[in-house]
Subunit: 560 residues, 2 copies
């Protein structure tokens, strides 16, 4: 370790938000550190802040500018918020991608969809296997989460050991994957100088009770399903393969054959089986076979636990889906938690099911779902087990990170509340912020990438709030209006509060102005547009109480 | 009771949704029943389904058409979802409005704001006082809820007694207002033929544990506040005057002076004091006085528990508000529940407070808030106490009404799941649906009322999802294009995925088409617009992966 080398940490996504994870570690001379990237995730748009957007990606401009310094990309697990941006952003980074088998298989699909090279993906075995990436040596350590093969990373650098937990929970009986093994973690904490930095999941820091194991769901789920006479449908995240197994086994125990509905879910189960992480999954039947069986012998496992309009759940709530139709007396189970912001969509599906007469059961009582994240007591147990000198909370909104820092402070640990874009120097025994990097969001909109702050989405929101008025004016060679101004509106009431056609009312005001407009205004597009916009806004405000967006098109005839 | 007379029930809002309450009862010859209206509430827009809308009102077309049959309007309590539409819709109904004192005061403010007559509002004392309204005799019976002076209505008709609960909970120690009195209810149930119909709140039918009293909050709130060294801020619904008193007293007990922030809250407390429903409220200080005191001696009670952008909570989270500013070490308490759909707004405020360093406490553990609605065991207790022959669940989404019907069925009661627009005949011993009335939503948009299905808001949502392209084409007297087509875009990326200016790319396609377009297309505006729209959509889909809204303006030169 040279005196001039430093160890840095830079979150570019996932620190100050839940989702869109992307973290960078670097080691070497300042501004020439060799870099590794941990996770390349996406987050999802919503109508309130990002209408019409398809996907939200971290802004990796800084990585792109420093692409030649990147040694490797590590993917902790195959959730969209950890791997979803890989295919989109890989061309900016062009580094080898390391992941365990199942995650590598999903990462490969992501790359394949966008025509990226597949040979950059390297499958890695768990610790003690390790990857050498420039000054770093990295090991994948199995942890429990709500998807198979989640991993924490043990990252050794000349300036000390970092443990990057990824998403995790402590589960001694996780149904799929390795149980939590305190001895393994104790070993990691004791090797060499121990753990310098724990970069730690904060998602459930506000959950005060210890987390429960996946295995606790088997009995209540089996009881619930045993009591049913109609069809049973259950939804959870497509990637929660352990839950799918728990549900399917509960269905089997109740004498039901299991059918998967939803492309994402079938793909996950297939990949999990092919990569060997999912064993002994009950045999599956096709939708056609499900149709031929009595309802009491069928269990459907379906996508759409978050109320997504296009998923199988929503489709079933609206009517037939692949020939299958729900009826009075059927049961629909949400074996899931509603992510904040998705409530309306989930409630919409629940009410549509209620209208059909289906009994809807959710996790109100905590019987049918367990979280994939460590709760506060579990986080504290991990702090104590790993005994890091510095805690860097990640995977959380600002309030989660702050609460996690409070816990670190109370334990006498060093800590830093580093949100996206905060570069932290971890070389010494106390962390320090050295630089703020431009970190933001990029929107995939159709097939185009746009900056979140570019104004495109802002204009859409404004049109949605205020409506849009289009004004067309034709001027002759001498800048005199030809005919009247023409107004079209979209997203505005047709009539004013007084009952007149709104477009006519606005045209009246515009034409009155054009009759008396000064020559220099008529001669200059910018001036004229500004003047006409003002008149439109004023008129619509007076006539309808709205302040619309306005586009003015001035056409000028030219002498032939 | 003539053989030809019937008793009807018709919900126009609030049955199949939470909010926008409006219920009609009628008695008399079919289609000539004399009517009473219970509540005239609003609901609130959201970005996903009603962007830009100011307020959502029930569609009372049916009442307007039958206005001369309306004997009276009764308002159960002063929440916006029960009284908020009064001022807007009264001119359609023009009937006297009955309410208890506090509610009448708020109703008067609503009428005053819109310049409606005030003398139609009649203040009524609680039972045994009664109002005669055509064939009905109506009594107001005090119930507990999260606003002062909530009332159930006992509605006597020649065909039997109806108890319309309004929003209610069972609270023996409600801090403000009358405690729950089972004897009174028992008396109502025993009089005459007892209760024929119980029209009953369903909001909390999925809450399995008995509700808690407002008084249970005093100790935990006092403990929480006593432990604080900085400023303490608490938010709850402005109209929850009992909670404000509980909070203010807890603050006083901790040696703090109380300051109210937010117009709605000051108005509620003032009205409650003036109408005598609020007694012994701790003395209040002004924001200026709060500024002059040490932070440890101040408690702010503020509006904005739902994360509303313009309320005091959000303002304080962003910086100074009336000179007051929060700091590291202050405490911010949400003594409230987040209404589904408001999560993002609330979380935004919480994170902004976290960024300042303020400790945010919410009701995660159920210590600092109690619901204003009866939970399932309380609902069942009321069913048993009132012993109705028919249960009509109201105040709930479809799933709540269905669950409430299930309970009624299990008890052997008659029931009907009547959503908005369902006219139910209650004359006999079993309810029956007799007619479906057009019932929907009206949007107040600026100063104009628009139908929810008019397409105006649908167009706004489409512009927000897809962007808007404007095409201007100029044609000469012989229908030949003059110059090129002109394209403006709003809410679309400036450049295509290939990097070309999008407007240019689209113009290229349009001009290529105009060069070869058939004469009959060029001659007809509709045909031409259709053709150009198709070209724009196809071009933008190819170049940017979006299918935009398109407006085409064709200007035609006329021979002079």
């Amino acid at each position: 370790m040279s005196k001039k080398d430093r160890l840095i940490y830079l979150p570019l996504g996932g620190a100050g938000e839940i989702g869109m994870n992307c973290y960078v570690y670097g080691y070497g001379p300042a501004d020439r550190e060799r870099l590794i990237v941990v996770d390349l995730g996406v987050t999802f748009p919503d109508m309130e802040t990002s209408p019409g957007v398809d996907l939200i990606l971290p802004d990796v401009s800084w990585l792109r500018e420093n692409a030649e310094r990147i040694e490797a990309i590590f993917i902790t697990h195959a959730h969209e918020d950890h791997v979803g941006a890989l295919g989109w952003l890989w061309p900016d980074l062009k580094a080898p991608v390391y992941a365990r088998r199942f995650t590598a298989a999903i990462a490969t699909l992501k790359m394949e969809e966008l025509g990226r090279p597949l040979d950059v993906i390297r499958e890695v075995a768990p610790r003690p296997a390790s990857v050498k990436a420039g000054p770093f040596t990295v090991q994948f350590v199995p942890v429990s989460h709500s998807i198979p093969e989640s991993s924490a990373l043990v990252i050794d650098s000349p300036a000390g050991r970092i443990v990057h937990t990824g998403d995790f929970k402590l589960d001694g009986t996780p149904i799929v994957g390795e149980p939590f093994n305190p001895h393994l973690w104790h070993e990691i904490a004791r090797e060499g100088d121990g753990v310098k930095v724990l970069t730690c999941d904060s998602t459930n820091v506000f959950s005060p009770r210890p987390g429960r194991s996946e295995a606790t769901l088997t009995a209540p789920l089996t009881d619930l399903i045993l009591g049913q006479k109609g069809m049973v449908v259950a939804t959870t995240f497509a990637s929660n393969v352990a839950r799918l197994k728990t549900l399917a086994e509960a269905g089997r125990a109740a004498g039901r054959s299991v059918c998967l509905l939803g492309r994402a879910m079938r793909r996950m189960v297939k990949t999990a089986a092919e990569t060997g992480v999912l064993k002994d999954f009950p045999p599956l039947i096709t939708p056609e076979e499900a149709l031929s069986l009595p309802r009491s012998e069928v269990m459907l496992l379906v996508t759409g636990s978050q109320g997504e309009r296009r998923a199988a759940s929503a489709a079933l709530s609206r009517g037939k889906y692949l020939g299958l139709e729900l009826k009075e007396g059927d049961l629909f189970l949400f074996s899931s938690k509603t992510i904040p912001g998705n409530e309306r969509g989930v409630i919409r599906v629940m009410n549509a099911l209620s209208e059909i007469g289906v009994v809807v059961v959710d996790d109100n009582d905590g019987l049918y779902h367990v979280s994939g994240h460590a709760n506060r007591p579990d986080l504290e147990a991990v702090h104590d087990l790993m005994a890091p000198r510095i805690l860097l909370p990640m995977h959380g909104e600002h309030r989660h990170l702050r609460e996690h820092c409070r816990i670190a402070a109370a334990k006498g640990l060093g800590w830093e509340l580093a949100t996206n874009g905060t570069m932290v120097d971890l070389t010494g025994e106390a962390p320090s912020v050295v630089e703020m990097i431009e970190a933001g969001r990029i929107y995939l909109d159709g097939t185009v990438m746009i900056g979140a702050m570019d104004g495109v989405v802002r204009d859409r929101i404004r049109m949605a709030m205020n409506g849009h008025v289009l004004v067309t004016v034709l001027l002759d060679e001498e800048d005199r209006p030809v005919g009247d101004a023409w107004v079209e509106t979209m997203g505005l009431a047709e009539r004013t509060s007084g009952g007149r056609p709104l477009a006519e009312a606005v045209e009246g005001e515009l034409n009155a102005y054009l009759d008396i407009a000064a020559e220099d205004v008529l001669a200059e597009d910018d001036k004229l547009e500004e003047a006409l916009k003002r008149i439109v806004r004023k008129a619509v405000m007076e006539e309808a109480g709205k302040k619309p967006e306005v586009t003015v098109v001035t056409s000028r005839l030219v002498a032939e």
